[in-house]
Symmetry: C2
Amino acid sequence: MSAAPQPSAFSERLASIGARVESALDRLLTPAPLADEIVRPKRLLDAMRHAALGGGKRLRPFLTIETAAMLGWPEAKAERAACAIEFVHCYSLVHDDLPAMDDDDLRRGRPTVHKAFDEATAILAGDALLTLAFDVMADEPTHPDASVRARLVLGLARASGLGGMAGGQMLDLDAEREAGALPRAGIERLQAMKTGALLRYAVEAGAILAGAAPGERAALVDYGLALGAAFQIADDILDAEGDAQALGKKAGKDAGRNKGTLVGALGLDGAKRARDELVVRALDALKPFGARANTLSEAARFTAARAH
Amino acid sequence: MSAAPQPSAFSERLASIGARVESALDRLLTPAPLADEIVRPKRLLDAMRHAALGGGKRLRPFLTIETAAMLGWPEAKAERAACAIEFVHCYSLVHDDLPAMDDDDLRRGRPTVHKAFDEATAILAGDALLTLAFDVMADEPTHPDASVRARLVLGLARASGLGGMAGGQMLDLDAEREAGALPRAGIERLQAMKTGALLRYAVEAGAILAGAAPGERAALVDYGLALGAAFQIADDILDAEGDAQALGKKAGKDAGRNKGTLVGALGLDGAKRARDELVVRALDALKPFGARANTLSEAARFTAARAH
């Protein structure tokens, strides 16, 4: 009989930031009563709350808050930008789950938004979460300097749009439609856009908030790129190994659909080696920060060990 | 035999700004070759171009550019903000046309995006257009002052999200689901959010760009609110009168679906009176600007006379 594993300092920190983010997301999705005369349709707000609250490790907000904190920017003042990024992540899950996309009924063990509500409401809830992300990012409480807020908005849009997440999802759908497997470079490009861009940006946003010097920011972008790539390979490995319960969705699904994964291109062992190399790259990028980067180093190891 | 009507100075101006906007939209949807290494998936870009180019009067960009011009801000420097607003309008049409929403096959006489491509691509094209709107708005060429750009982003998000356009679409879907007609106040609220908010903001954005004084900005917001409401009543009247060809979509459709329209609530004559009152309100709001506002006055009359 093995003893229950002790929670590490890292996982406690992750859980504590997660709880802080959860409550900030909740506040941002709770209209102040009588604060203004704007009507916020209840069904749409309920669907947005269903999509954004009550689940997930909040890895992206964690990266934003930890990166900013490492550079001396207080956690509480990084919360709003972190939540804006999480809203973009949540919108992408709602739209990816739609019948016309991945057609998933469950997400983190709960009904997806189009199942809990309906398809039209899910489309609108995704749209409204994406829009809210920019609302939150551009508003003054996010950062006192408007040029910082404008840069945050721009970076978020670039990471999320045609040249980032939405484009990556398109490449993924293209790959499904076409016969034959994608070459490794094609898969890496797809993944760098679909999941990597927003993870990389979550790190970069922390650097922008804290006013990092260009060299620091570049190092952190390298870290974010490697971490984002490791995240996706870890997800592919998790899927290939079929841990259905932990995933909360049907395991083996991506492979079954001939989606391009690095496990398919490199084999399971090859994918694990590629993942480990990415972790080394991520840790190397953090070297200039020394011991201050301990939590971010742990985050890279954590991300590689477990994607969800 | 009557002579062909002479084009008015206003309609020439509208067409000329429309052509200028069309070419700016085209440029914003044409990636500079080799300018960077970002991949922009062709199918997604094609779908975005299908959605955004080759159609429409460009009324929203016209309002932004004319409002800014009236206040002394050059047309060419208002173009990007105007295009950002048009991208939001185009995204909303793509998503509203989806099978789960209004299920329309035609838009301005051409196949809708999900017909010309497929449903998943249409969802992503809408998402990517919405995201691009914030990209364009936040980037430096839009305005040299970052605090102006941040205000433009915030205003666009507020006009488009839960408390604006997306919320209005939700109220519209709610009204369809429920038996019985909405009361007049409910219809007005729905329309103010669904179509009014973005039209009002198109005017306000011109004022923000040009650095209007608070009083000027408030007067222009009043104008935009009245114009936005007049636009929607005119649309309802056009629909009720069944000018199928001019609309390029099935006439009488909204009424047939028991959607709340002011023609339903007030009758055709009552709706026309309400529309005319709104035009008077719009013109009154422009009084402080004297003859400088002639084009915006014409725009209000034009909007009321014909919505599309």
